[in-house]
Each structure stands twice: as structure tokens, then as C-alpha cells.
Amino acid sequence: MAYLDINNVVKRYEGHTALDGVSMQVEEGCIYGLLGPNGAGKSTLIRIINRILAADEGTVLLNGKPMTDADISHIGYLPEERGLYKKMKVGDHIVYLGRLKGMTKADAISSMRWWLNRFDLKEWENKKVENLSKGMQQKVQFIGTVIHRPPLLIFDEPFSGFDPVNAEQLKVEILGLRDQGSTILFSTHNMSSVEEVCQQITLLNHAKVVLTGSVDEIKQQHKKNIIAVKTSDSIEEKPNMFTLLPPAKPQDKDTLIKLAPGVEVRDAIAWLNEHYNLTGFTEVRPSMHEIFIETVKSYNTEQQ
């Protein structure tokens, strides 16, 4: 049984449908990527899970039970558009967010101190939010999201606005929370972060699920039988076995070959090894970035 079970959710606005029968199962303790181009319905779905919006049809089950308002204390939500009360003190702000999620004052304060310490923000506790740099504000916002140690965390574009060093720290924290048992739903455009942290993904496009599954499986399904081979001399095309592809980057020394339908990788390698001085080869798996673009594009062409 999935921890978060979204069934056939429909959300209509005046003039358009934001979610059209979306289903998605998130297993407990995994990092789940919710992908999709702008306007695909990601934010609407996240808001429905957060009970900011109500679905017109369909159900959202948490731990097998329909979600109620009481469940929102089990969720930590970091929206894409960040914001804090500029005039509030950092410590007060975090405590306020924690208490809104149902923490006691004492718990919220000790947890706030622990997290500020962890992010090297200890001396900022009594400063106003407006005095912090943007990166520090982002960290404060992250702390505000996780302070009540929610079992379900929802991050909408968590890495936007972070420099690489802080993004790395954030990634470590997110993986740490996963290891402590939190389930994480992760909405993003940043495909490299998807490959690094997500186990499962769902790709939304035009209000519908167009692709879902584990990252490994999806990559396996989308592989194009392309091999990068290293040879000392240049390769000629052999139409019944493989065709040559232009290099992905101009500076690449490897030759890309695409196998003809029905040709096994090992047969092609054996043949190459026989005819050329083969020094190495790797199977090229498509990146999530490519799969994303390909799926969305082909879906959009089908619609027209």
C-alpha cells in the first residue's frame, strides 16, 4: 500500500482543466519526483495534497485513509515562490511556522535552535529576516518547512535560488531526512537533481500523467541502443548492423553508433572488435532531461 495514494484527481478552473484524472502512488520513505513543464498542473496537485485547494473529483489517501485537515500537520511544504515575513525575527518566524503545524512552544524553540545551529545561522536568531541574504532566507524557509519533522515533505523547486555549495548542503539534508524515514515529494524542472535523488517519478503534461515509474525502468525503456565506442581509427557505417550518429559534443572523441533493430549489443561489439582496434565502449543511456523533452514533445505533437 502506497503511503500517499492519489486517485483520479480532477481539478477544473473556469475555462480550463488543471488536472485531468491524475493518479500517482508514492511509497513510504522514497524520494518521488513530480516533473512537468510550466502549467502542467504540478502546483495545483501539490496544493491539493496540502489541502490548500480541494479536488473536484478523485481522492487523496494518506496511509490508506482519506486526508483530513488534521493531516496537514504531517506535511512540510516548501512552495516554489519563497517568502517570509520580512519584519519578523528569524527565531520567532521559525517558531511561528512550527507552532502553526501544531508544535508546542518549547518543542518549536528547541528544534529551531538545533536547525539554526546546523545551518550556521545561530547568531541570526534575533535578527530580522530582512537583514539576511537571499541564500540565508532560503535556509530559514527550509528550516520552517522541516521544523516539525513531518513524515511527508513536499518541495517545489527546492534548489532554485541556492548557489552550488548551499544546494549541495540542501541535498545532503534532504537525503538525511529520507534516511530518517520521511517520504519526500519533489517537484522540479532540474533534471540532474532528479537523477541524483529521485527513485520514482511522474511526468505531468497538460493536466495528465504522461510517464510514471522508477528512474531506472524509465531509462531502460527509453534507451535507444546507442553505444559510444573508442577506437584508434575511424569507423565506417554498416547499414544492416549500425548507423553513425554525430557526436553529442564537438570535443567528444568517442564515436556514437546506433544499432539497427534486432541487433544485440554484444554482437555489434564483437564485430567491431574484429574489424577495428576497439579500446573501450559504453552504452549511452538517455538522461532524464532527454526523456523529459522527448516525452513532452511527442505528447504535444500527438495532441495536435
Partner: protein
């Protein structure tokens, strides 16, 4: 409910803790004092600073010129043996030494006309002084010319100030009703409601827009219901308003007491200088006035006024503040809010004018209807209450007010729920109606 309390506390502290709040709370009374004191001070300095003017008086009658007594501002010099015609020539040729000439023609008794000649502008103060002095003298002269002994005293005796005591007949018997104080109190309470709703309604609106611009709102509504957030704001800001009012009342009481004690001492000091008769007369007059004032004050039944004031104040505040919150949620920045503010402001101004006009006739049809229609009733009813309002009107008005206030809060909550997450394209009234559905 715990969340609501948290939201109220945050909202309250966020405003009360601000420097601008402290400045405004302390500064507003100061501003009023300055606004009141500056013109007086300037007028005083103006009078004090200007040199005494020399006024020539040509009195063809030879009887009335002496009525003009020189003072700090004007020195009157009676020019003997001059006529109106020669005065014109004389003044034309004279140097700048004479600031103005007062010419009392021979036929002043019948025409009542006195001329003032001047090369510069004539101050209104001079005209007033001359007019009243000459008029009084002519009046006495006329009385004297009738040849009736002691006529002046008889006229003085005949002159009476009429004091009207209004008595209202009700089932409990005769009650002395109090018009002046009741009117004052009614107007004060209705102005208070108007000011409060306007000031703090705008504050709520800004707070809503600020949260939206900040983007914090999405985090907050993922932890509580939008309605809780809106209600928390309304209550929080309302408490800020009450705090501010309480501080102002305390300041007023302290200032009055301090001023009272200072003036009291100086009053006694001046009392010892003036002749005893004058002091006694003054005290007696004051006594009479105070008696009347206290009598009126006691005749007002404060308990229902306060009770109704609280009810109307709460209803009016809830109605307008939720309206402001709902409308505030539909815009991204304060400058966009005017299209929604204008209709609300219009209604409020109508309410205020209706309230002021209703003072003249608190039982007239306009007054009655405006005190029943919920958007104007909190302001207008406060003017009517001290005069007594039939029970059915009161009941109808209160039921309508609270019904509408709750209805508007419900509608505002629906707009708010959608509005706070609406960015970009400016929402129109059409959008708002869609959101309500």
C-alpha cells in the same frame, strides 16, 4: 482554535511592535494639538507684532465719535471741525501717518451708514469694532431720545435668554431628554466608528496584500485554513485598534487632568484680582451651566448606549474589515487596490453624511432607512440611539447588520481563498464573482 490564537498574536505583535505604530500612536494627538494651536499662535503673533494703527475719526454728528475707544491695535483721533467732503480732500493730501479714516455722517441716525476711508486694505477687525461700537451708541441714544425715564434698564430687563428644556413623554412618565449632549455623544460615537473602520480596514487590506506580495501566504495556508488566517487578521488588527484607542484615551485623561490642575490654579489666581462681584457672578453663571450639564448628563441612560455602541461597532467592523480583506486578496500591490476601494469608500462616505444629516431629524425617513440598511447603520444608528429608537427598528437593524456582516465575511472568505493564490493578471469584479461561486 489554537492556530487562530497564534495568528491573532502574530498579527497583533507585528503591528504593535513596529516603530511606525509607536510613532503614530504618540504622534497623532500631538498632531491634533499642533493643528489646533498653530493658527491660534500665529494669530496671536500677528496681532502682537503689528504696530498700532492710527485712525482719524470725522464725526459730523459730534455725538458718536467718542464711542470709539483706543486700544492696542487702534488709536482713534477725533478730527474737530471737518466734514465728510473736507475729510476726503484732507485724507488725499495727508501723509501716510493716518492708516484709515472713519467718517460718521450727519444723517447716521436715519441711514445707519458709516464710511471708512483707507489708502491700503481695511482689516475686517476694524470694520467689526467700528460697527459694534457705533451701533451700540446709536441704539442707546435712540432709547434716550424717547424721553422715558429708566428706559435703558427696562430694556435690559426685558432682554431674556430663553433656555429650552425638552421633556420626552414615555411610558415610564416624563423624562427630561437631553438634546445637546445626546447629539454630541451620538455624533462622536458615529465618527469614532467611521474612523476606526476606515483606518483599521485599510490596515487589514495592507496586511493581506503584504502577505501576498511576500509569498508567505502559501506556507501559512498550508498550515491553517485561509478562513482562519483572514479571521485572525481581522481580530488581530481590531485589537491593535482598541489598544491604540485605549492609549489615546489614557493620554487624553492625563492631559485633561494636568491641564485642569494648571488652569484651576491660574483661574483662582485671576479670580482674586477681579472684583468680588464679578467673580461671584461668574461663579454663579458657571454653576448654572454646570447644573444644566450635569442634569443632562444624568438624564442620559448610558448602559443601552454603550451596549448598542458595542454591538454596532462590532457588526460594522466585521462587515467592512472582511470586505477589505477580501478585496485586498484580489490585488498584488497596494496601488492596484483603488478600483475595489472606490465603491467601498463611496458607501462609507454616504454613511457619514447620512449620519451628520440625521442629527437634524433623527426620526425622519432618511435617518430611519439609513439606520436599518446594514452598510450605513453602524454610523447612522449611533446618531439616533441617544434620541430613542423604536424597538422594532433596532431589532431589524441589528438582525440585518449581523446577518449581512456574516454573509459578507463568508463571501470575503471565498474571495480570499482564491485571491491569495492569484498572481499576475489583475482580477476584475467579474473574477471576484466567479470566485464566490
Amino acid at each position: 482554535m489554537n492556530k487562530l490564537r497564534l495568528i491573532i498574536a502574530r498579527e497583533y505583535m507585528s503591528i504593535v511592535g513596529r516603530k511606525s505604530f509607536i510613532l503614530m500612536t504618540l504622534g497623532m494627538p500631538l498632531l491634533f494639538i499642533v493643528i489646533g494651536a498653530v493658527p491660534m499662535l500665529l494669530g496671536y503673533l500677528n496681532d502682537k507684532g503689528s504696530p498700532t494703527q492710527l485712525i482719524s475719526v470725522v464725526d459730523e454728528t459730534g455725538r458718536y465719535g467718542s464711542a470709539l475707544h483706543s486700544d492696542e491695535m487702534y488709536t482713534y483721533v477725533i478730527e474737530e471741525g471737518m466734514t465728510a467732503t473736507s475729510a476726503h480732500e484732507f485724507y488725499q493730501k495727508s501723509d501716510d501717518g493716518i492708516d484709515a479714516m472713519v467718517i460718521i455722517p450727519r444723517d447716521v441716525d436715519s441711514t445707519g451708514m458709516v464710511n471708512i476711508l483707507s489708502k491700503g486694505t481695511i482689516t475686517p477687525a476694524l470694520v467689526t469694532t467700528v460697527r459694534s461700537a457705533i451701533a451700540d451708541t446709536i441704539e442707546s441714544a435712540h432709547l434716550a431720545s424717547m424721553g422715558i425715564p429708566n428706559l435703558q434698564e427696562m430694556v435690559d430687563k426685558a432682554h431674556v435668554d430663553v433656555d429650552v428644556r425638552s421633556i420626552k413623554l414615555s411610558e415610564e412618565g416624563e423624562q427630561e431628554s437631553s438634546t445637546d449632549i445626546a447629539m454630541g455623544l451620538g455624533l462622536f460615537l458615529s465618527l469614532f466608528t467611521y474612523m476606526f473602520v476606515l483606518m483599521y480596514g485599510a490596515m487589514i487590506m495592507n496586511s493581506v496584500i503584504e502577505e501576498k506580495t511576500n509569498r508567505i501566504v502559501e506556507v501559512v495556508v498550508s498550515s491553517c485554513r485561509p478562513f482562519q488566517l483572514m479571521l485572525g487578521k481581522i481580530i488581530g488588527v481590531g485589537l491593535v485598534g482598541l489598544t491604540q484607542m485605549a492609549i489615546w484615551i489614557v493620554m487624553l485623561v492625563v492631559v485633561t487632568m494636568v491641564a485642569g490642575s494648571i488652569l484651576g490654579i491660574s483661574g483662582m489666581a485671576s479670580g482674586s484680582i477681579t472684583p468680588e462681584t464679578m467673580a461671584a457672578a461668574g461663579a454663579a453663571a458657571e454653576q448654572g451651566f454646570m447644573d444644566g450639564f450635569m442634569r443632562e448628563l444624568y438624564s442620559i441612560n448610558f448602559a443601552p448606549i454603550i451596549l448598542y455602541f458595542i454591538l454596532y461597532f462590532l457588526g460594522g467592523y466585521l462587515l467592512y474589515s472582511s470586505l477589505f480583506a477580501g478585496l485586498g486578496s484580489a490585488v498584488d500591490q497596494p496601488s492596484d487596490s483603488s478600483q475595489f476601494m472606490t465603491p467601498v469608500m463611496l458607501i462609507m462616505i454616504i454613511a457619514l453624511y447620512a449620519g451628520i444629516f440625521c442629527m437634524e431629524n433623527p426620526s425622519g425617513p432618511t435617518a430611519v432607512w439609513c439606520s436599518i440598511i446594514p452598510f450605513t447603520s453602524p454610523v447612522v444608528m449611533m446618531v439616533r440611539i441617544p434620541f430613542g429608537v423604536p424597538a422594532w427598528q433596532m431589532l431589524l437593524s441589528l438582525v440585518l447588520l449581523f446577518g449581512t456582516a456574516l454573509g459578507i465575511t463568508w463571501i470575503a472568505a471565498r474571495i480570499y481563498r482564491r485571491g491569495i493564490l492569484h498572481y499576475g493578471k489583475k482580477a476584475s469584479f467579474k473574477d471576484l464573482f466567479k470566485w464566490i461561486k
